[in-house]
């Protein structure tokens, strides 16, 4: 079956290899504010600095968190949107339903957070919220695949 907008199967593994370490390092960074000293760079920004009054588009920034976030995002996209080995129309349906389900859950959590979390705490929620759609989607999709695979056990 022709499937559009999906990456080839082999990218799933590449995605997972990017995803797992960057998730662990990312959590570590959020908890400890750790930064790799050699990633302290002069970076270009399309916006001027919000705090500091300076109108320059260049400023010093440690890009540890940016690098990890980009690795995680690309990894998650590849892991979630690569074809399965035996991709067919049923798996496509499972994938799209999982994506819908993940979107609902993600925004339900976000609405709850809007009601219950404020200020700096909400900023942390927003950081996690950038990634939770993809995380929930990947977990749900793979769980549904596992379930459909499991139900084969008692059939011939």
């Amino acid at each position: 079956m022709k499937t559009r907008f999906l990456f080839p199967y082999k990218y799933k593994l590449i995605g997972l290899i990017m995803l797992v370490p960057s998730a662990i390092i990312g959590l570590f960074i959020i908890m400890t504010d750790y930064q790799l000293p050699f990633l302290e760079l002069n970076v270009f920004s399309i916006t001027t600095q919000a705090f500091g009054g300076d109108n320059s588009h260049w400023y010093k920034n440690n890009i540890t968190d940016e690098v990890v976030a980009i690795l995680f995002t690309i990894g998650a996209l590849l892991a979630g949107f690569s074809k399965q080995k035996n991709e067919d129309e049923y798996i496509t349906v499972i994938r799209l339903e999982s994506l819908l389900w993940a979107t609902y859950i993600n925004y339900a959590i976000l609405i709850l957070s809007m009601l219950l979390v404020f200020d700096a705490g909400f900023f942390t929620v927003m950081i996690f919220n950038m990634f939770t759609v993809l995380i929930i989607f990947i977990l749900r999709f793979n769980y549904m695949l596992y379930k459909s695979y499991k139900s084969l056990a008692d059939e011939k």
Partner: protein, 66 residues
């Protein structure tokens, strides 16, 4: 919608795996159709009917509420 895939498969003495390979889908898909969890696309329905040398209506039957 219900279907007779399981029965037709038994008549032809095919496993889910055999049928899946013949029409180019995963075994999960055959299993999901047989347990009425998945309604196949028209293309897949036609392929299945062709495999059993029957018309689509002989394999797939509309139910009340469809």
């Amino acid at each position: 919608m219900k279907n007779n895939i399981k029965i037709e498969r038994a008549i032809k003495n095919m496993t889910q795996e055999d049928l899946a390979n013949k029409i180019g889908v995963s075994r999960q898909t055959i299993n999901a159709m047989e347990s009425n969890k998945y309604v196949p696309s028209t293309v897949l329905a036609l392929k299945i009917a062709k495999q059993f040398n029957k018309s689509v209506e002989e394999i797939f039957i509309l139910e009340k509420g469809d």
